[in-house]
């Protein structure tokens, strides 16, 4: 039993320490966490999509930010917040990382960012039903997770399929329906943003930036398995 307020602190040095930190903030509201961090709670998250995640990162001492390496790089652990409702249903897909549309030559699953980020994940559920004001949203109990063999292989298959489309110039044909668990969706502040990609004939084209997302089925299965 811990009776001390969690000190927002430096990078955790071990998996156990990270888990302890995450457990220490479980049950607190975002308002309480924001107060402890000395930041204000935004009125809505439309414009500040990653606010919740960043707040949690801050409290757990993550350093990687939005870089393509795990949040806790030296521990090899990625932090992911998971919006759920009161009944424990996952409410949204989970952003994994930006999908590189160029420079993928020789890219392999084992060295890919998706694989890197999903090797070991600290899932932090957040009670985030739309009806609950942001300040009152509650941080859930952390789940430290690694993919099972079958999950790993399913992710790998999805990734291979999506990367093939990206690399062979079919990025514009990709819809969220590709992939069983991993999907590729536009990832940008607005629809006008474009980034470089590769076209049908190997020529450079402009495409909306894409991100890898985990479908809800996948994260729900993690929660369900944890609940037993």
């Amino acid at each position: 039993m811990s009776f001390y307020p969690p000190q927002p602190s430096s990078e955790p040095q071990s998996e156990a320490e990270l888990l302890e930190k995450a457990q220490a903030i479980a049950g607190l509201s975002l308002a309480q966490l924001a107060e402890m961090a000395g930041v204000s709670v935004p009125d809505n998250l439309q414009k500040e999509k990653g606010w919740g995640g960043q707040l949690i990162e801050y409290h757990l001492g993550a350093t990687a930010g939005s870089k393509p390496v795990p949040d806790f790089e030296h521990l090899g652990i990625e932090l992911k917040t998971l919006p759920i409702n009161q009944q424990g249903r996952v409410l949204e897909t989970t952003f994994v990382c930006v999908a590189p549309l160029t420079g993928n030559i020789g890219q392999q699953w084992q060295t890919s960012h998706v694989c890197n980020k999903l090797k070991r994940v600290l899932w932090v559920p957040i009670l985030a039903e739309r009806t609950i004001p942001i300040a009152d949203r509650i941080v859930g109990y952390p789940i430290l997770w690694s993919p099972s063999d079958s999950e790993y292989n399913a992710l790998k298959q999805d990734w291979e399929e999506l990367m093939e489309l990206i690399c062979l110039g079919k990025v514009s044909e990709i819809t969220a329906k590709h992939g069983q668990f991993l999907q590729l969706r536009p990832k940008a502040a607005n629809a006008a943003i474009r980034t470089q990609a590769i076209g049908q004939d190997g020529e450079p084209i402009m495409s909306p930036p894409k991100g890898f997302y985990l479908k809800k089925d996948f994260t729900q299965a993690i929660i369900n398995r944890w609940l037993g």
């Binding site: 479980a26 961090a37 930041v39 020789g106 070991r120 509650i138």
Partner: protein
């Protein structure tokens, strides 16, 4: 029209529609047959653009007399014999359709002699049933196929033929493509009796380059880079035209996969990408490229004319081709200007292709993000508050080359880095589950709930006796039994709540909490105090998982007296208070609720049930119900 089986001739003519588009397709099919037969000398005689005559003579292995009639039948081939062969096709042809198709739309004569035979034989197929007639003939070892009057019986197709000159140009193009694929084969091409091309067999680089010059012109061979690299399952050899000899047309693009000439999208895509930014969008790279892959890694049975193939590991092959060409072109650039790459302030991350600025203190934006988020701005401005988060960016360049040119070999090594899948490592240590009920049969069980008696009464039997129990008493009893079990059983594990419950507390309640700490930990509650006015219930005994803890726990804490928590073996008073606050919020039970409660109960202990049933239940005279 009734349904009927097509005559062999008509079936072949239909197939010919796919395979034999124009004279040059006949030449292609026949040349491939010659090469598959191991010919080293091939003579091609064309008359009137091929519409009058296409004669191809080779010194290959020839066809045995007994097989001659089969050679002209459809679906007859010596190149595959079972489905497994299709998975690794090493020959150029394999469908067994070419000769039958061609002979159905022309007058075809096949003359052949094998090394074993003392005489040559000639075969010709005629009529609706394509009966094959075999006659003796004079011919050296090898095969001659004489195709006369192409499309004489298919006027529709004949009308599509262009001028003799155009058709011959197509033939010449086919011959050139095949000539480039086999430097070791001597090929002569003549039109209307005049020798047009003579490709001598070339064994050394100079001879090969000469043949390339014959096909692609001297300008190409003077500005060419030799490419030769091999990795595991892919081998690439070829000549790349330097960017300055890029063409306005796609006329010097010769690509071969396992010796088969190819216009494959994937290969073209990779090559185009490799030349990117070296040639303009209107230009086309010039190249002669040979790609060798394990036949098992490629499916050629995709396109009737076999212009396309399908690679099993399409992306890896694509990337490999790109890389090979890209680095060869770069190598040339490096030689041109050594200092080209020395001015870069960015480190190039090979894996992402992203450039990281070396400025350490900048907030990093993902692609598409235009400005730092509110959080990032606030936290960057915030005064030292406990600690400063380090949004320290590490430049991931240490492992990468300082040169933009990735070393081919280091990149290629990525292919072989086969890391074994991550095993599912140990689950949360705290996570343990109370076994759920396994089997429960109402007939067998000693404790059986028989019925619900409205209002709020439960009828159940126990050891041949009937009991009636009020719903509240039933729940009370169940809860008491469970509490007792949890209290006394060290194996009863706490379960973390997915959504821990925070309770606002004042000083008074905090004091009560201090008082009840022993009780809470005895029952396997885990409660933390993250801020001075908040209690957070993080783990609970299994029985409280569904309880409204935010209400029950504060009510219970408030109701506790000092006397309740004294060091007894089982703090009955405190537990009874917990039971009463827990049950006050209960609603009417359904049959399902009762059944699941009893299931749970059976898991705990029969003795407990007896003990408690006796306390609460009213025993009913058994006879009244019989």
């Amino acid at each position: 029209m009734p349904i009927q089986i097509l005559s062999p001739q008509l079936a072949n003519q239909i197939a010919a529609g796919e395979v034999v588009e124009r004279p040059s397709s006949v030449v292609k099919e026949l040349l491939e047959n010659s090469l598959d037969a191991g010919a080293t000398k091939i003579e091609i005689d064309i008359e009137k653009g091929g519409s009058q005559r296409i004669r191809i003579r080779d010194n290959g292995s020839g066809i045995d007399k007994a097989e001659l009639h089969l050679a002209l039948s459809r679906h007859a081939t010596s190149k595959v014999c079972e489905i497994a062969d299709l998975e690794a096709i090493a020959s150029l042809g394999f469908r067994g359709e070419a000769l039958a198709s061609i002979s159905s739309v022309s007058r075809l004569t096949l003359t052949s002699k094998t090394a074993e035979q003392t005489e040559a034989w000639q075969a010709q197929a005629e009529g609706r049933d394509m009966q094959v007639e075999v006659k003796p003939a004079a011919h050296p070892i090898g095969t001659t196929i004489d195709v006369v009057d192409l499309f004489f019986n298919t006027p529709a197709r004949r009308r599509f033929l262009r001028t003799d000159k155009t058709e011959f140009n197509h033939i010449e193009e086919v011959v050139k493509r095949i000539a480039l694929s086999r430097f070791d084969v001597q090929i002569k091409l003549s039109h209307n009796g005049k020798m047009v091309k003579h490709f001598r067999s070339a064994s050394d680089d100079a001879g090969q380059l000469k043949r390339i010059a014959t096909v692609c012109g001297n300008q190409f061979t003077e500005h060419v880079l030799l490419l030769d690299c091999e990795y595991d399952l892919v081998k690439i050899r070829g000549w790349l035209g330097e960017p300055q000899v890029a063409r306005q047309q796609r006329d010097i693009q010769y690509c071969y996969v396992n010796g088969r000439m190819m216009r494959d999208k994937l290969v073209n895509h990779a090559i185009r990408q490799a030349y990117e930014s070296r040639i303009s969008t209107e230009q086309h790279a010039a190249y002669v490229l040979f790609i060798e892959v394990d036949p098992k890694q490629v499916d050629v049975n995709v396109h009737p004319a076999k212009h396309e193939v399908r690679f099993h590991q399409a992306r890896l092959i694509h990337d490999y081709i790109y890389q090979a060409i890209h680095s060869a072109l770069n190598q040339q650039l490096v030689e041109l200007s050594e200092n080209l790459h020395n001015q870069n302030d960015f480190s190039f991350d090979q894996e992402t292709g992203e450039c990281f600025s070396k400025d350490d203190h900048q907030v990093h934006l993902y692609s598409g993000q235009q400005a730092p988020s509110l959080f990032e701005r606030e936290i960057a401005e915030a005064p030292a508050n406990g600690y400063q988060p380090s949004f320290r960016s590490q430049s991931h360049s240490s492992a990468s080359n300082s040169s933009v040119t990735p070393s081919v070999h280091s990149q290629i090594e990525h292919y072989s880095e086969l890391v074994s899948p991550v095993k599912n490592t140990e689950p949360l240590a705290e996570l343990a589950k109370v076994k759920s009920a396994t089997t429960f049969s109402e007939q067998d069980a000693d404790n059986a709930v028989l019925s619900l008696l409205p209002p709020s009464q439960i009828l159940f039997k126990h050891q041949q006796k009937l009991f009636m129990l009020s719903q509240s008493a039933f729940l009370q009893m169940m809860l008491q039994a469970k509490l007792k079990f949890t209290w006394s059983e060290p194996a009863a594990k706490a379960q973390p709540l997915l959504l821990p419950v925070a309770i606002k507390v004042d000083q008074a309640l905090l004091n009560q909490f201090q008082l009840a700490q022993g009780l809470l930990s005895g029952l396997n509650f885990t409660v933390s105090i993250p801020t001075p006015n908040t209690l957070v219930i993080q783990k609970v005994p299994a029985i409280f998982r569904e309880t409204n803890l935010a209400k029950v726990i504060p009510n219970w804490l408030q109701s506790l007296d000092k006397a309740d928590v004294d060091g007894q073996e089982y703090p009955e008073a405190a537990m009874n208070k917990l039971i009463s606050v827990s049950l006050s919020s209960q609603e009417e039970l359904t049959w399902q609720d009762v059944i699941s409660e009893v299931k749970d109960y059976n898991q705990i202990s029969e003795q407990d049930f007896c003990y408690h049933a006796a306390q609460f239940a009213t025993e009913l005279p058994y006879q009244r119900f019989i």
